[in-house]
C-alpha cells in the first residue's frame, strides 16, 4: 500500500512544478516522468491484490466528524485501477509528443497528474466524504483539461456544459451519501455495509446513485455532456476520459450494489432498459456525425449501454439466484470495461493523430489518409474491428459472454426471463449491426479512397511516441483477446465480491473459462488460416503479372475525389428510417432574383435529447428563476444581511 501512496504523491507533487515554473520544458519532462513512474508503480499493488485476492488497507490516524481517511484496494478497486493506470500510461506517452508544440500547455501536466491521482483515489476511497472530495477533484481537473483550448468559443461552451453536468451528478451523489449518513450514522463504507434501513429508502438510494453515477458514465439523457466535452479536449485527455473516466461511474454503481447489500429485481430491469436505450441511441447518433471525435464520444455512450445491460443481467441473476446470469452478466460487463478502455483509447489516439497530421477532424473532408498515415490507419482499423465486436479481437469475447448469459436465461424457467433474454439479444444484435455500419463509415471515409478536400496540405504521420502508444493499445487488443481466459480467472474474485453473499459456483465458472479457452483456440486458428491464405495470395501476386491501373469508373473519363461516397450518404439509408430521433435541421440561403449568384444549404443533426428535452427544460427553469433576479442586486451590505439572517434562523432552529 505504501507503493500506492508513493504513486499518488508522484502524480501530484511530481507534476506541480509545471504549475510553479511556467514555460519550462525541464519541468514538463520531470512531470512526464513522474506520471509514467507513478502509473507503473501503482500497477504493482493492483496486480498483487488481483492475484492474491487479499485486501490492502491504509488508514490515516485522523478522525473527523464524518469518518476516517481510509483507502483500501480490494478486487473491484484493483481491477478498475488496472484500467486507469494502463490507459493513463499510454495516454501520457502520447500526450508528450502531442502537446509539445502547443503554447501554454505546460500546466496541463499538473492537471493530468491530478486527474489520474483523483481517479485512483475515487476507486480506493472507503469513506463517503473522501469519495466525494476525490470525485470533485476529478471533475475539476478534467474540466480544466477539457477547456485547454479556451480561445475557441465551442471549447468554452463544451467545458461549461461539462462542468454543469458533472456537478448535477455530484449533487445527486451528495444527496446519496447524505441520506446514507442519516440512515446509518456513518460515512465509512465498512459501517454502511451493515445497513439495516427500511426497504423504501434502499430504492431511493439506488435511484440517486444511478442518476449520480449515470451522469458520469453517460447513460442516455444524462449523456449530453459527452459529445461536447470529449471532442473539445486534447486527444490524449479524450482517450483517458472516454477510456476510464466514464468507467468510474460504472465502478460507483457496482460499489453501491456492494454497499447496499441487497438487490431488488426491478433495479436489474431498470439498468437493462437504460443500457439498451443508451446502446441503441448512442450508436444511432454516431451515424450522423461528421466530427470524428464526436462520433467516438457517442460510441462510448453505446458501449456504456452494453456494460450496463450486462450489469442489469447480473443483478437479475442475483435476485433470482441463477448462477449463469450472475457469472456471465458481471463477467461479460467487467471484461467489456477493460476491452472498451483499450479499443476506445486506441480510437481516440488515432483520431488525435489524424487531427495532428491533417489539421481537421471533419471526415467529410478527409479520405485516402491510409497511404500517408499507415500507422494511424492500422491503429484505427484494429480499433474499428475490435469495437464492432468481430472475431478474433477482444470486443467479441465480452459481447459473447453477455449473449451467452441471455441465451441461458432463454432456456431457463419462467416467461419473465425469456423477455429479458429477448430484450438483451435483440438490443445487442441491433447495436452490433449499427456499429459495423458506423465504423466502416468512420474508417472507410477517413482513411480509404482519395482525399476529398485537396486544399489540405502537409499531411504527415505522427512521431514515434504517438505511434508507440497507438501500437501498444492495438497490441493490447490482440493480447486481451488471446489472454481472455486468464483475465476471466482474474475477474473471479471481483464477481465473488459483487455477488456476496451468494456463493458463486466454481465449477460453472471453470467450465465457462474452458469455453473461452476453446474460443480463443478457434480464434488463433482463424488468424493462422487468414495469415496462411494471405501468404499464398501474396506469393501468387508476385509470380503473376500484376498491373496497376485506375479504378474502374464505368467509362467516365474524369473521376474526381468529390465523386466518392460521402459520410452522410453512406449512412443515409439507415438514418432515413429514424427521422424522429435524428431530425435534420436545414439552413437554406434562398435563391432570389432572375440571375442568382450563389446559395448554400447546410444540414446538421443536433442531439435530440439536448435540443428537444434538456435545452427547453433548462430554458423553462431559467424563465422561472428570472422572476427572482431581483435578489441579486449587487448590494454587498444586503448580502451580508442575508447571511446573518440565515445564520440566526439556523441557530434558532438548532436550539429549539
Amino acid at each position: 500500500m505504501t507503493l500506492f501512496i508513493i504513486s499518488l504523491l508522484l502524480l501530484t507533487v511530481g507534476t506541480v512544478n509545471t504549475l510553479i515554473l511556467p514555460k519550462s520544458s525541464f519541468a514538463v519532462k520531470v512531470a512526464f516522468l513522474s506520471i509514467i513512474s507513478g502509473c507503473l508503480i501503482a500497477l504493482i499493488p493492483a496486480a498483487d491484490v488481483l492475484l492474491t485476492s487479499e485486501t490492502l488497507n491504509f488508514v490515516l490516524p485522523f478522525n473527523s466528524l464524518y469518518g476516517t481517511f481510509s483507502l483500501a484496494i480490494d478486487a473491484l478497486s484493483a481491477y478498475f485501477l488496472l484500467g486507469i493506470l494502463i490507459v493513463s500510461l499510454f495516454g501520457t506517452i502520447y500526450g508528450y509528443e502531442y502537446m509539445k508544440n502547443q503554447p501554454d500547455s505546460e500546466s496541463t501536466w499538473f492537471f493530468l497528474g491530478l486527474l489520474v491521482a483523483s481517479m485512483m483515489g475515487v476507486v480506493t476511497a472507503r469513506n463517503g466524504l473522501l469519495f466525494l472530495i476525490f470525485w470533485e477533484i476529478m471533475s475539476l481537473s478534467s474540466f480544466l483539461l477539457v477547456g485547454f483550448e479556451n480561445k475557441k468559443q465551442e471549447v468554452r461552451t463544451a467545458s461549461l456544459i461539462y462542468l454543469v453536468a458533472a456537478h448535477i451528478g455530484a449533487a445527486f451523489l451528495i444527496l446519496f451519501f447524505a441520506l446514507l449518513w442519516v440512515k446509518t450514522g456513518s460515512l465509512n463504507f465498512i459501517d454502511i455495509k451493515n445497513l439495516s434501513a427500511s426497504t423504501s429508502y434502499i430504492d431511493l438510494l439506488f435511484c440517486l446513485a444511478v442518476i449520480g453515477f449515470g451522469a458520469k458514465a453517460g447513460f442516455i439523457v444524462l449523456h449530453v455532456w459527452l459529445p461536447e466535452a470529449h471532442p473539445a479536449a486534447p486527444s490524449h485527455i479524450s482517450a483517458i476520459m472516454s477510456g476510464v473516466m466514464v468507467k468510474i461511474g460504472i465502478y460507483g454503481i457496482l460499489r453501491v450494489l456492494m454497499l447496499l447489500g441487497v438487490v431488488h429485481t426491478w433495479w436489474g430491469w431498470m439498468l437493462i432498459i437504460i443500457g439498451a436505450a443508451s446502446g441503441i441511441f448512442g450508436v444511432l447518433f454516431t451515424l450522423v456525425q461528421r466530427d470524428l471525435k464526436k462520433l467516438l464520444a457517442y460510441s462510448t455512450v453505446e458501449n456504456i449501454g452494453i456494460i450496463t445491460m450486462g450489469i442489469g443481467m447480473g443483478i437479475l441473476g442475483i435476485s433470482y439466484n441463477i448462477q449463469p446470469l450472475i457469472i456471465m452478466g458481471f463477467g461479460g460487463s467487467l471484461l467489456h470495461i477493460i476491452n472498451h478502455s483499450l479499443f476506445k483509447s486506441l480510437l481516440f489516439l488515432a483520431a488525435g493523430s489524424v487531427l495532428h497530421g491533417t489539421g481537421t477532424k471533419d471526415i467529410e473532408q478527409l479520405g485516402g489518409l491510409f497511404k500517408k498515415m499507415p500507422w494511424t490507419g492500422t491503429g484505427f482499423l484494429v480499433g474499428s474491428v475490435a469495437i464492432s465486436g468481430l472475431p478474433p479481437l477482444n470486443g467479441f469475447i465480452s459481447e459473447y459472454l453477455i449473449y451467452l448469459g441471455a441465451f441461458h436465461a432463454l432456456t431457463g424457467e419462467g416467461r419473465i426471463l425469456t423477455v429479458l433474454s429477448v430484450i438483451i439479444i435483440i438490443s445487442l444484435a441491433i447495436i452490433g449491426g449499427m456499429v459495423l455500419l458506423s465504423f466502416t463509415r468512420a474508417f472507410g471515409i477517413t482513411f480509404l479512397g482519395r482525399l476529398r478536400n485537396d486544399k489540405i496540405e502537409h499531411i504527415h504521420e505522427s512521431g514515434y511516441l504517438m505511434r508507440f502508444s497507438m501500437m501498444a493499445m492495438a497490441a493490447g487488443c490482440f493480447m486481451t483477446s488471446i489472454l481472455s481466459p486468464y483475465i476471466l480467472q482474474g475477474l473471479f474474485p471481483v464477481i465473488k465480491l459483487i455477488a456476496h453473499p451468494i456463493i458463486i459456483d466454481t465449477k460453472l465458472f471453470l467450465s465457462l473459462k474452458q469455453l473461452i479457452s476453446n474460443l480463443v483456440i478457434i480464434f488463433i486458428c482463424f488468424s493462422l488460416v487468414i495469415a496462411f491464405t494471405s501468404l499464398i495470395f501474396y506469393k501468387l501476386r508476385n509470380t503473376r503479372n500484376s498491373r496497376q491501373t485506375e479504378t474502374w469508373g464505368c467509362g467516365y473519363p474524369q473521376i474526381t475525389p468529390r465523386m466518392q461516397y460521402t459520410a452522410l450518404s453512406f449512412s443515409k439509408p439507415v438514418t432515413d428510417l429514424f427521422t424522429i430521433l435524428l431530425p435534420v435541421k436545414r439552413k437554406h440561403d434562398k435563391v432570389s432574383g432572375l440571375f442568382p449568384e450563389s446559395s448554400s444549404v447546410t444540414t446538421s443533426t443536433p442531439d435530440v435529447f439536448y435540443s428537444s428535452f434538456l435545452r427547453p427544460f433548462f430554458a423553462l427553469i431559467e424563465k422561472v428563476l428570472f422572476r427572482f433576479k431581483w435578489i441579486q442586486h449587487g448590494n454587498l451590505q444586503l448580502y451580508v444581511l442575508y447571511i446573518t439572517a440565515t445564520l440566526i434562523g439556523l441557530l434558532i432552529w438548532k436550539v429549539s
Partner: protein, 303 residues
C-alpha cells in the same frame, strides 16, 4: 460421428458452386433458354484462378487483404454450420453468435475493400450492403431464439439435431414462420432477387456485384467461391430445420439433405424468375417483415 461431419463438409466444399448452376439453369428454363452448363461456376472459378491480378492505384493493402479474410471466414463457417444431420465439426454453446459475427467480419472487410477503391459505385454498394445486413440481423436472431427456446440448446448443431417430427407437429406455425423469415434473410445475405440482381452491377442493382467490381483474377475467383459456399451453408441451415429426418444410415440422411438443398436452389431460381428486384426504399420494409414474422413465431412458441 465425426467422420461423417468431415464427409459432409467435404461435400459442401465440392458441391457449393453447383448450386449457382442449378439456380441459373432454373432461370434459363423459365426464360425459355438453354442456359449455361450446370458446371459453369466451376469453369468460371478455374478461369479466374489462372488470370493475373489488376489493382487500382488508389488502393492500399486492405484491398488485397479482403478476399483471404472472406475465404477464411467462410471456411471456419463451414466447420461450424452443419451441412447435414451428422452435426458440425466444431460446436460449443453459443456458436450461433460466432457464426453471425463471422459473417460480420467478412462483411467488414468486403466493405473496406470496396471503399478502398475510391469509386462512388463501390461506396454505394458498401452502404447498401451494410444497411441490409443491419436490418436482417434481428430476423436471424429472433429465428435462432425461437429454435433455441424449443430445443433447449444453444449450439447450432444441437438446435438442428433436436428438431424432429414431434417438434414439427407441436409447433408447426412457428417453425413455418421461422423458415419463411430465414428464407428472406438468406436471399438478402446472398444478394439474390428481390434484394439484388446477381447478374448485373448497374445502378439499379448496385449492391453485392458492384462491391467486387475492382477485384480481378484469383481474388475474384475466391470471392465467387466464397459466396457460393455461403449460399450452401445458409441453405443448409434452412434445410436442417425443414427436414426432421434422422435416419441411422448416414447415406440416406445425406441423400435427403442434398435433395433438399437442390430443391431449395430450384426454389430460389423460381423466385428469381417470377419477381423483379424490389425498389430500394421498399427493401427495409421487406426485411422488417422478416423480423416481424420471426417475432410472431416467438409469440406462438411462448404461448
Amino acid at each position: 460421428m465425426i467422420i461423417f461431419a468431415f464427409i459432409q463438409v467435404l461435400i459442401a466444399f465440392i458441391a457449393a458452386p453447383l448450386l449457382l448452376g442449378l439456380i441459373n439453369r432454373t432461370k434459363a428454363i423459365y426464360g425459355g433458354r438453354k442456359g449455361q452448363p450446370l458446371l459453369q461456376a466451376y469453369y468460371d472459378i478455374a478461369k479466374l484462378l489462372k488470370k493475373d491480378f489488376v489493382y487500382s492505384r488508389t488502393t492500399t493493402w486492405i484491398f488485397p487483404a479482403g478476399p483471404p479474410i472472406i475465404f477464411s471466414a467462410v471456411l471456419l463457417l463451414s466447420l461450424l454450420i452443419p451441412s447435414g444431420q451428422a452435426g458440425s465439426i466444431i460446436y460449443f454453446p453459443g456458436d450461433i453468435i460466432l457464426i453471425v459475427y463471422l459473417f460480420g467480419i467478412s462483411r467488414f472487410f468486403m466493405i473496406c475493400s470496396a471503399l478502398d477503391t475510391g469509386s462512388s459505385f463501390e461506396g454505394m454498394g458498401a452502404s447498401r450492403e451494410a444497411q441490409f445486413s443491419l436490418l436482417a440481423e434481428p430476423a436471424t436472431f429472433f429465428s435462432m431464439i425461437v429454435i433455441a427456446f424449443q430445443t433447449k440448446s444453444f449450439s447450432l448443431s444441437g438446435m438442428l439435431e433436436n428438431i424432429n417430427w414431434n417438434t414439427w407437429s407441436g409447433n408447426f406455425p412457428s417453425l413455418l414462420l421461422v423458415i419463411i423469415s430465414l428464407f428472406i434473410v438468406m436471399l438478402a445475405e446472398n444478394s439474390r432477387i428481390p434484394f439484388d440482381d446477381p447478374n448485373t452491377h448497374l445502378e439499379l442493382t448496385m449492391i453485392h456485384e458492384v462491391m467486387i467490381l475492382d477485384h480481378s483474377g484469383p481474388d475474384l475467383g475466391i470471392i465467387l467461391y466464397s459466396s457460393s459456399l455461403k449460399l450452401w451453408l445458409l441453405s443448409a441451415v434452412i434445410i436442417n430445420i425443414m427436414l426432421p429426418v434422422n435416419n441411422s444410415n448416414f447415406l440416406v440422411n445425406q441423400g435427403i439433405f442434398l435433395a433438399g438443398i437442390a430443391v431449395l436452389a430450384i426454389t430460389i431460381g423460381v423466385v428469381e424468375s417470377v419477381m423483379a428486384r424490389i425498389r430500394l426504399i421498399k427493401v427495409p420494409k421487406l426485411l422488417i417483415i422478416a423480423s416481424f414474422l420471426s417475432i410472431l413465431a416467438l409469440v406462438f412458441i411462448m404461448r
